[in-house]
Amino acid sequence: MTDTKKHTVLVVEDEMATALAMGSALEQEGYEVLRAADGEEGLRVALEKHPEVLLVDLKLPKMSGMDMIHALREDAWGKTARVVILTNVSDMGSLQAAMMNDTFYYLIKSDSSVADVIRAVATQLAPSA
């Protein structure tokens, strides 16, 4: 298992129960978990704390996940930040729009398990990621 004690993960998710489930599972795996409940807060925490992996829901209040990622990419650090998109969005159009100019790992939440989320974070942290 990766040495997770040094790694921080930012969970940007407005659904409290979903954020709680992800956060608890990641903490059990030894990650330090930061939380944000909307896109604006997510962007602020990301630029302040420089987490190693960001888990970002697409549908967020105040600023959508897509807008948050675009704003992040304009920052020198944010350009190379590791992002995993989480969504229950059913239409591939929104997902494809989000991925248009960038390559993201993405998970359809309803089709994934908590174990899949942990695996996704580990994959992002693997040396070749």
């Binding site: 229950n88 059913s90 089709d111 908590v114």
Partner: protein, 427 residues
């Protein structure tokens, strides 16, 4: 001599007198006949004129009614006759549909192309070329841009006829304004998408929280609590599958089921499904074996749709196999065509009764024995599975024996192509 002349004159007079009467009779007879003839001719002419007037009136009425029907139904009719272009015509509603003023000379085929939406132009050109060169029925939909810049959806349907002697073509058809229907479909699609998102979000939360409670790092739970939490997890998983089925059916019906092609490892995806379904199988003490050929290429396909297919087949096998049964899944490269992935799912379940087999892929259909064993079920899973596989140009079949089990055979190409957009334009 005088006497002779007198006799001749007298005789002539006598002949004249004798002949005059029949001549008179004949003359009168001829006059009567002629008069009768004239009368009959006049009557026939009057009747013909009346008939023509009646036909003209009937024609005018029918034309007027057709014009009104076209106006109410928002469809226009057209004829292009390549034997004699003078016989070509557009109805009034055709002009209105295309935003043009009625004119003496019927617009030609190029008008259809000129008014096509730029994004649809190449497909429309292809379709009209086919229509103008190939006898037979045709039907397709596309967008037009009116002179006012308004975009309108139209559906064109008709028949290209060929004159047997001259081999010249005559095209007859109707154009229907389907803008409203397309807008309704788009609204339905957006509603379904929103509803599925709104439904799946809280259910995902329930599922994930139950997974966290069951994870090794969490506080220990009692055996009873573990059982309840497992049931919560399985129920939420089942609800997600039902919502996905409903969503996919809706997309299929609306023609909005699109593919996102991605390259992925088949074994990794199926193992993920096994992990997900493991608990449901374990609860019934079912043996779930999955084998893979060595060196299977990656699939270049829609990951979510392929996942849905395999998940449906495996979860059905689990659902309809009584306790202590077995489920075998074999994933291989097809023997006959190496470009195809082959998946076989065999269970020792309740099987499908012979008389029900022809219905098994029908929407909302559930065999009676399946309904008895598992009362709740949508009957949508196999319908969606078959539709997706056929869209991917694959195939699905099955063998079954009631009381013994069922085997489903699925083959899909290793590389999928989404031709739905092209098919819609050509349909």
């Amino acid at each position: 001599m005088e006497q002779v002349l007198q006799v001749v004159a007298q005789s002539y007079q006598q002949v004249q007198t004798i002949a005059a009467f029949p001549l008179l009779i004949a003359g009168v007879f001829v006059l009567i006949v002629v008069a009768l003839g004239v009368y009959v001719a006049i009557v026939a002419r009057v009747r013909a004129d009346a008939r023509v007037a009646h036909l003209v009136k009937a024609y005018d009425t029918v034309t007027k009614e057709l014009r009104e029907a076209q106006k109410i139904g928002h469809f226009g009719s057209f004829v292009f006759d390549f034997r004699d272009l003078e016989l070509s015509s557009w109805s009034e509603e055709m002009y209105r549909l295309y935003g043009l003023m009625p004119r003496e000379k019927t617009p030609d085929i190029h008008t259809f192309l000129r008014l096509a939406h730029p994004q649809d132009e190449s497909v429309v050109r292809e379709m009209w070329t086919h229509v103008c060169t190939t006898p037979g029925p045709f039907a397709f939909s596309y967008r037009i841009v009116l002179p006012t810049k308004q975009v309108r959806y139209v559906h064109v349907e008709g028949n290209t006829l060929m004159d047997v002697e001259t081999k010249q073509l005559r095209i007859e058809g109707v154009v229907h304004d389907i803008t409203k229907e397309m807008e309704i479909d788009r609204a339905k699609s957006e509603f379904v998408s929103l509803a599925s998102h709104q439904l799946k979000t809280p259910i995902t939360s329930i599922k994930w929280l139950s997974e966290v409670l069951l994870r090794k790092g969490s506080e220990p739970v009692t055996q009873v609590q573990e059982k309840y939490i497992s049931n919560i997890h399985d129920s939420s998983q089942h609800m997600i599958e039902m919502i996905n089925d409903l969503l996919n059916v809706s997309r299929i019906e609306l023609g909005t089921l699109s593919m996102k092609i991605d390259e992925f490892d088949v074994k990794e995806l199926i193992e993920n499904i096994r992990e997900e379904q493991w608990h449901a199988a374990e609860e019934k003490h079912l043996t779930l074996n999955i084998t893979y050929d060595d060196g299977l290429p990656h699939l270049v396909a829609d990951r979510n749709l392929f996942r849905m297919v395999i998940q449906n087949l495996i979860s059905n096998a689990i659902r309809y196999t009584p306790a202590n049964g077995t489920i075998e899944c074999a994933v291989s490269r097809a023997q006959t065509d190496k470009e195809f992935l082959f998946v076989r799912v065999t269970d020792s379940g309740i099987g499908i009764p012979k008389e029900e087999r022809k219905h098994i892929f029908e929407k909302l259909y559930r065999a009676p024995n399946a309904q008895t064993l598992v009362p709740d079920g949508t009957g949508l899973g196999l319908y969606v599975v078959k539709t997706v596989i056929e869209r991917a140009h694959g195939g699905i079949s099955f063998e079954s024996e009631e009381g013994k089990g069922t085997t489903f055979y699925v083959s899909v190409p290793f590389v999928w192509h989404d031709t739905a957009g092209v098919e819609k334009a050509h349909s």
